[in-house]
Amino acid sequence: MRESLTIEEIEGQIVDEFSLFDDWSDKYQYIIEIGQKLPALDVGYKIDENKIKGCQSSVWLHAYNKDSKIYFEADSDSTFVKGEIALLIRVLSNRTPEEILASDLKFIDEIGLRQHIAVTRANGLASMIKQMKLYALGLASANQ
């Protein structure tokens, strides 16, 4: 199932899910719920070189590639940030570098998340996206 859906299609699914919620409070609680379900990252990967430091929370991002696709695993000390991570992983993991680099992640705006995070330096979402894309870029260049 998953294999056949494009990044845009997955983003569309997320937007649909969030459209069920009227207000920010419900969206917050949904993101917390997703965050609580995200499997913890293996402690062996919770090392400084995988750490993306935000002002108020830390993110550990582990990326690896298999069969020309990139897989992401991540964790955070904030459940909310874990929820954001879970969404990003759902969209960007198990993708080719080219797909990742071409993605514009419009869903973040569409579900109203950006206004709650972009104004703050509170969490590492922006840095995390940058890291994910950098990893894809690195792999794409290496493949050429």
Binding site: S25, Q29, Q56, S78, T79, F80, H116, A122
Partner: protein, 415 residues
């Protein structure tokens, strides 16, 4: 004193709240409960009106125009300088320098004092509870001069270990810069005592009074501090305006901070002479609207019964402290016996950001994180806190909402 008792004394919270238009706003359908006053206070209508009136009726550049508007604006601007001097009991208007805020005020002193007086091996003393803005400017000054920075430690309650000051002071100590009231702990430091000790050794003292001005009556002559810095926006005034008070004997000795218009006496390509203080330190067109807004804020504060206001804030602090302490797993960071109405806390097993964001969904504005005091967080071994900082316009009902919100957050976030 309970809120009911306070009202009997003539403190009418509803009347006060009406003067602050933002307090009528809602957030996500909930009435706004604003507990981020240590970051910036809300503005009374009179401050907003004063700025509006300036731009609407007498906007002009000051001190250089011969025309009616410029004279009117100049006079308003100069009057505020006098108002600030009176407000902190400076001995003269010329000891009041307008800056962009506390940060710029401290940078001004660190930079100019450093240039003139700091040499290799000299020492500056600060405290363990400084805001980054009273750490980094001194680090920069030390870096360029070869001086070193020494730190007065604090105890587990978040109180300064003043007894250690005597052993920190040496004949190389050139200045002590210390925060009056901690933004992250709420601690009110024994400033008068610290200055008394410093004066025995003839060491100048700078006070970061950013958090103090709206709560405490500050008298620079009584304190005998050499420099004092504060911001307009933390005392009901606009952002982008602040004050540096300096004893004139020091200000005369310090070199200019920035060059430009206004700060000069005469300019030629061979030799420029500088204007007298305070203008020597005010290069360029100043923040005229900001100054006028600050003036209105000071007028507003002067009209308050400050004793009564402070009693109300202390009642809020006591009420909130008691309520929060009843929450299992909640630990207050900063338990000095002498505090302003600021409560920093952590909740076992919960991330501060998650809790802060939950409270936000209920219209409750708190701040989370390290509050620009990373060394304080390191001292207590925590990454950050949730901070509720109160002002006289807050109510016990709002605190009840905060407490309820924390209980809900704990349930949702699983602690």
């Amino acid at each position: 004193m309970s809120q009911q008792d306070l009202q009997k004394t003539g403190f009418h919270i509803e009347g006060i709240r009406k003067q602050f238009p933002v307090l009528r706003e809602s957030a996500y359908g909930h009435p706004l409960a604003y507990f981020d006053n240590a970051a910036t206070t809300q503005k009374p209508q009179v401050v907003i009106d004063a700025i509006n009136l300036y731009y609407s009726t007498y906007n002009a550049n000051i001190h250089r125009g011969v025309h009616y508007l410029s004279q009117k604006a100049s006079q308003a601007y100069d009057n505020v300088r006098t108002g600030v001097a009176t407000f902190i009991n400076a001995s003269s208007d010329k000891e009041i320098i307008f800056t962009r805020g506390t940060t710029e005020s401290i940078n001004l002193v660190a930079s100019t004092f450093g240039k003139k007086f700091l040499k290799q091996g000299d020492e500056i003393i600060i405290t363990a509870m400084e805001h980054h803005s009273n750490i980094v400017p001194w680090q920069i000054a030390c870096e360029s001069s070869g001086a070193t920075l020494k730190v007065i430690p604090m105890n587990d309650s978040g109180e300064l270990d003043l007894a250690s000051l005597n052993s920190l002071i040496t004949n190389r100590t050139k200045l002590i810069s210390v925060v009056h009231t901690s933004n992250s702990l709420g601690t009110v430091n024994p400033i008068a005592e610290l200055i008394r000790i410093a004066k025995q050794f003839n060491i100048p003292v700078m006070i970061d009074a950013a958090q103090a001005m709206v709560h405490e009556i500050i008298d620079v002559q009584k304190l005998d501090c050499d420099f004092l810095a504060f911001s307009g926006h933390k005392m009901l005034g606009p952002t982008g305006i602040g004050v540096l008070y300096g004893k004139s004997e020091w200000l005369e000795k310090l070199p200019p901070y920035q060059g430009g218009g206004e700060m000069i006496s005469s300019v030629s390509f061979e030799k420029t002479t500088y204007n007298e203080i305070p203008f020597k330190f005010e290069a360029g067109t100043p923040n005229i609207a900001g100054v006028i807004g600050l003036g209105a804020a000071i007028d507003y504060i002067n009209d308050l019964d400050r004793e009564l206001i402070h009693q109300h804030e202390m009642a809020l602090l006591k009420y909130a402290t008691t309520q929060l302490k009843n929450i299992p797993g909640l630990r207050i960071i900063g338990e000095s016996t002498n505090k302003e109405a600021v409560i920093s806390f952590v909740i076992e097993g919960l991330n501060a950001l998650d809790v802060g964001m939950y409270l936000d969904t209920k219209g409750i504005a708190v701040r989370t994180g390290h509050h620009c005091t990373e060394p304080v967080m390191a001292r207590f071994g925590i990454p950050g806190t949730i901070r509720a900082s109160f002002l006289f316009y807050n109510t016990t009902e709002e605190i009840d909402r905060l407490v309820k919100g924390i209980h809900e957050a704990k349930k949702l976030l699983g602690s």
